[in-house]
């Protein structure tokens, strides 16, 4: 008897256990679902909060001046392109087209100079041994952390003595000497992760180091190089302090300075002109970002994590 009752106890216990396990499993699935739902709600809410100012900016640039501070919605009630037309003309003898041209005249040499110099330097660091290598690579990290504020004044004096003030040269020449340590660091990290087999094979076939760099290393480095160019493009487009210090004539203003000028010179109540030009100045960066976002994210992750 006791045996049988014991056996039945065991069976019920087993059934209970099974039911419990099922319930636990169901609970787990339900928890996972709730967790996913909570995550989506937070992400969606935060995303909306993040992007709403930008959406509002675009909408407001098509609003009449009377509506901008009266309507928190982003859809203009009486859409107008007046802000764009008048804003483009500016209060200077030049249109915004001129300022965009100036920005590109800075960006293009800067990006090309950065790509070439940083590739060479990264190749040197990643593939060769030479005296003082540790010290020199240490200096890359040191520059990475060195606040620009401490070198800015003597740099200004240097460029003044060279007669470069009010020209684009101070804005891009330092970058053409691999001055942006972040990019050197990023490319070195990337190169170190690529095995040198291909280069060794090329060397055995009689290629010199320069040919190896151009024909073997650069193609493999392409994704990282694209990241470098994109970041440099973006940062230069956004740079304000550099042009503010070095550029004094209005005909050489890049868009960042031109926008600041339009705030200072546009009459109060002409808000939509400023907002419209703000939209235009961020458009190139946005287009580039959406076309090549994968390179941004990869570049950032590589620079940050593998270090």
């Amino acid at each position: 008897m006791t045996d049988i009752s014991h056996a039945s106890d065991v069976i019920t216990a087993g059934a209970d256990g099974l039911a419990e396990a099922r319930a636990a499993n169901a609970r787990q699935i339900r928890n996972a679902k709730i967790s996913a739902a909570v995550r989506y709600v937070i992400l969606f809410g935060v995303g909306l909060l993040m992007l709403y100012p930008l959406i509002w900016l675009v909408g407001a640039s098509f609003k009449t001046n009377a509506e901008i501070f009266a309507n928190p919605g982003f859809i203009p009630q009486q859409p107008t392109t007046e802000g764009y037309v008048k804003g483009w003309e500016t209060s200077t003898p030049y249109t915004f087209g001129r300022f965009f041209l100036n920005s590109f005249l800075i960006i293009i040499p800067k990006v090309i100079g950065t790509a070439i110099s940083c590739t060479m330097v990264a190749y040197g660091f990643a593939r060769f041994d030479f005296p003082l290598k540790k010290l020199l690579f240490g200096s890359v990290i040191a520059i990475l952390l060195l606040p620009n504020v401490v070198t800015r004044i003597p740099q200004y004096l240097l460029f003044r003595d060279l007669g470069w003030l009010d020209s684009f040269l101070p804005l891009w020449v330092p970058s053409a000497f691999a001055g942006d340590a972040f990019f050197v660091f990023m490319l070195v990290q990337f190169l170190r992760a690529i095995p040198g087999d291909m280069e060794e094979a090329a060397r055995v076939d009689g290629a010199n180091s320069w040919q190896t760099l151009v024909f073997i290393v650069v193609p493999m480095l392409a994704p990282a190089l694209i990241s470098v160019c994109l970041f440099q493009f973006m940062w230069t487009m956004n740079d304000f302090l550099g042009p503010l210090i070095y550029i004094s004539s209005v005909d050489k203003y890049p868009v960042s300075l031109a926008l600041k000028l339009s705030i200072d010179t546009t009459e109060a109540f002409e808000w939509n002109r400023i907002l419209a030009m703000s939209v235009l100045t961020i458009t190139p960066a946005l287009i580039v970002f959406f076309m090549a976002q994968k390179y941004f994210i990869e570049g950032l992750s590589a620079g940050g994590v593998k270090g």
Partner: protein, 293 residues
């Protein structure tokens, strides 16, 4: 072998020239200038410690600016990192559209440094701007963002927190590289989500926390566009961060010696804090495969 050595240095030529001309010489020169009186008109005149004595004993603006800068950095950096980690943690889950969210969250970082966004901030925090329209719409009282010294600095903090994207991307990559079996093992042992986060996630991502902390801190100390465009340093110098003071002294008043002294004080502060972080990192940063810990 010697040829190869020379080659390596050859590839470094642009860097070495740049390092000397654009970094090392200016670095030394700025230290020298900080001990001089130099207004661009006549040659620098050596004045010893005078600039520094002036700064620390007589200059009220400097004291104010330094205080405001420290407040700004010590609120902005932790807030931004906490927020970036929070969002990265939520994103690190098998969610559909994770890439869409990641992209959306990164957009502000692409644009945040631009003047256009600083201009936008001026508009949305204006007394009748978007933020106050929304606050009053929800039944709250409108906030005097730019008129009140208590609030103005916070608008800049908010702008920089809004740009949490790059820190988030780095956190997310680190979270994704954590071995999932660690969590499974911990769960079997009865650890809660919070325990897993504190005892597994945080220790394993300390290297990127450290990296983000240093980078964001160095950046925050150099904040210029925000105060210059959004608040013009006001009201009552409540947003007059040190980089703006340096700019005004150097490029408006052309007092290069005094400006260099302020720049050096700022540099020493950043350096001391960075070294302190590096020194303390031995105690709290965990590197996988590192036998010491």
């Amino acid at each position: 072998m010697t040829r190869k050595r020379a080659l390596g240095l050859g590839y470094l030529t642009p860097y070495i020239i740049g390092l000397l001309v654009f970094t090392m010489i200016p670095f030394g020169a700025s230290l020298y200038l900080s001990f001089t009186d130099y207004n661009l008109m006549s040659a620098p005149r050596w004045t010893g410690l005078e600039n520094y004595i002036q700064l620390f004993t007589k200059d009220r603006t400097f004291r104010r600016s330094l205080t405001v800068t420290l407040i700004y950095v010590f609120t902005t950096v932790p807030l931004k990192l906490a927020f970036a980690l929070f969002i990265a943690y939520i994103l690190n889950y098998k969610l559909k559209f994770i890439n869409v969210f990641r992209t959306a969250f990164y957009v502000p970082s692409i644009l945040g440094g631009s003047i256009a966004i600083a201009v936008l901030w001026r508009y949305i925090f204006a007394s009748e701007g978007l933020v106050n329209m929304m606050l009053t719409g929800l039944g709250f009282e409108a906030v005097n963002w730019f008129g009140d010294p208590q609030n103005a600095l916070f608008t800049i903090t908010l702008l920089r927190c809004w740009q949490f994207g790059s820190a988030m991307v780095i956190f997310l990559a680190a979270l994704q590289s954590i071995d999932k079996s660690l969590y499974e093992a911990a769960e079997i042992d009865g650890a809660s989500k919070a325990h897993c986060f504190i005892f597994i996630t945080i220790p394993l991502i300390t290297p990127v926390i450290f990296f983000n902390l240093i980078m964001q801190m160095v950046q925050a100390f150099q904040e210029f566009n925000g105060p210059y465009i959004i608040t013009q340093g006001g009201p009552l110098k409540s947003t007059y961060l040190l980089p703006m003071y340096i700019y005004d002294e150097a490029f408006r008043r052309f007092d290069m010696g005094y400006a260099s002294a302020i720049a050096w004080v700022l540099f020493v502060i950043i350096m001391v804090l960075t070294l302190a972080a590096f020194w303390s990192s031995k105690k709290w940063v965990y590197y996988a495969g590192d036998k010491r810990s």
